[in-house]
């Protein structure tokens, strides 16, 4: 369902994001080489085929390109070279709150968010009751989003994102939502979405949840695939490596977070 062949992504980082016409004219006039940006390869020649029913865990040190890979699969970053083919409805749970408009009411935002995930108004109307029920925000439905607390916001967007049944679910571990009681509910719900999705791709540092959820592991390092195979093998190889390697590699390994997924 997902096919990447030789996908590379070159990131251009602009020292001065707000490059201006004024600067461009001065550079042209002074015959200055534009040194405004420097580039690095976030992904290099990644080839990966993921079939229906697979649960893929992506692991690797910070800054290895895990989240970038998810974003490429979600269609957010167009690859610099290589080919990409994604079949089916993709639900990216990469960052919560995508496409919220803070001036509008919670209800309007649910419809907008649903539309972004590929569900029209009618389909969302059938789901909105369950969304209010799950998020516990029914009495705030008419309130403009700017008056929501951050906990309420993340609950709402989590509820919308997990209410839909996607073909491909992209999950980033950094999703942590709400208070303890909500977290327990959220965990349960995420598991049920994972069950409903044909393909799940999970980025995490938490080895226990990775080995519990996933069937296949992909270890990414410096933008390339280091190892690809059954999850337990990959985890073992990865933990051995991390245990030995000195942090001189430049990538600081962080403590695995408890609230993965």
């Amino acid at each position: 369902m997902i096919e990447l062949s030789g996908v590379s992504l070159r990131f251009t980082t602009y020292h001065d994001k707000y490059y201006s016409l004024k600067r461009a004219c001065i550079d042209l006039f002074l015959r200055r080489e534009t040194s405004n940006h420097s580039a690095f390869w976030a992904l290099r020649d990644v080839s990966l085929g993921i079939a229906r029913g697979e649960r893929v865990g992506i692991l690797g040190p910070n800054g290895a390109g895990k989240s970038t890979l998810l974003r490429v699969m979600a269609g957010i970053y167009p690859p610099t070279s290589g080919r990409l083919r994604v079949e089916g409805r993709v639900a990216p749970l990469i960052e919560l709150g995508a496409g919220f408009n803070y001036e509008l009411s919670g209800e309007d935002n649910v419809y907008l968010n649903g539309a972004l995930l590929g569900f029209d108004r009618r389909e969302m109307r059938a789901r909105i009751d369950r969304i209010w029920e799950f998020s516990g925000l029914r009495q705030f439905a008419g309130l403009p989003l700017k008056y929501y607390s951050s906990g309420m916001l993340s609950r709402l967007s989590f509820a919308v994102a997990t209410e839909v049944a996607p073909d491909i679910l992209l999950l980033d571990e950094t999703l942590s939502v709400g208070d303890a009681s909500f977290k327990a509910k959220a965990h349960e719900r995420i598991m049920s979405v994972i069950e409903r999705s044909s393909v799940v791709i999970l980025v995490s540092h938490d080895m226990t949840s990775l080995s519990k959820i996933c069937t296949r592991g992909v270890w990414i390092d410096h933008g390339t695939i280091r190892r690809d195979g059954p999850i337990d093998e990959v985890i073992q190889a990865y933990t051995e490596e991390v245990g030995h390697s000195s942090p001189a590699a430049g990538s600081n390994h962080e403590i695995p977070t408890a609230d993965a997924a």
Partner: protein, 279 residues
Amino acid sequence: MPQVFPPGGDALSGANWIGTIARDARDLYRFRAVLKNLVAQDFRLRYHRSVLGFLWTLLNPILMMAVLSVVFSQFFKFDNAGNYAIYLFSGLVPWSMLYATVSEGAICVIANEPLIRKIYIPKLVFPITRVLLNAATLVLSMGALFLLMVPLGARLTAPLLLLPLAITLFATFALGIALITATVNTFYRDFGHLLTVVLQAWYFATPIIYPVNTLPPEVAWRFWLNPAYPFIRFFQTIIHDGQWPSWALVCSSAGIAAVVLGIGYVTFKCYEDKLVFRL
């Protein structure tokens, strides 16, 4: 429908514009609910804050036209001030649509950064939202202002039937320019300052506040160098003159609209993939 990148498959990139257009049409159709939502929510934001929201947006053109008609009707050869007010109305209201679409279009990609960076969305949605929104505003304010113009001598005539055509062509033209400004402004953030000045100069170069027949005929042809001129003339002919426009006028409007939209589309598509990295 599978998402494929590079979109053209094995075809030469850039060579297959028909394929690109077909793909965009499909993509936009798939995201029509998003488009509808974005237009509806902006529309609501613009008007529902205050009960008088819509009336407030009318107040600006009304006052503007009142001031201009009092001042300028002294200078130009119009039979009465009312006639001049209608002339002004027929050019000024469409112009404000162009102005709003182009200047909002310039910031539409930047303003939707949170959306673009978090989820896949065809970027064409944003300029199209701006043009739909402003075209809808144009229709509403034109209807309302026309009623106000009736005491001044505005009359329903048969050529007004061409108004939908005029609005469609002008909106197409505005979309083309908005696509260009959206692209340029995302790469060069100070383009906005320049744009304000350019739009102001363009406004004075177009016969909106002054009638074209006040100028000697030797120089009047130069207006045809102004791409907005045929559209404004179109509106003035059907609203103020109450006459059917000449075929030359209709065809030149349609031709310019198509060409500008084409240029805008190609510009936007060439840089679309790079936009997300410049946010």
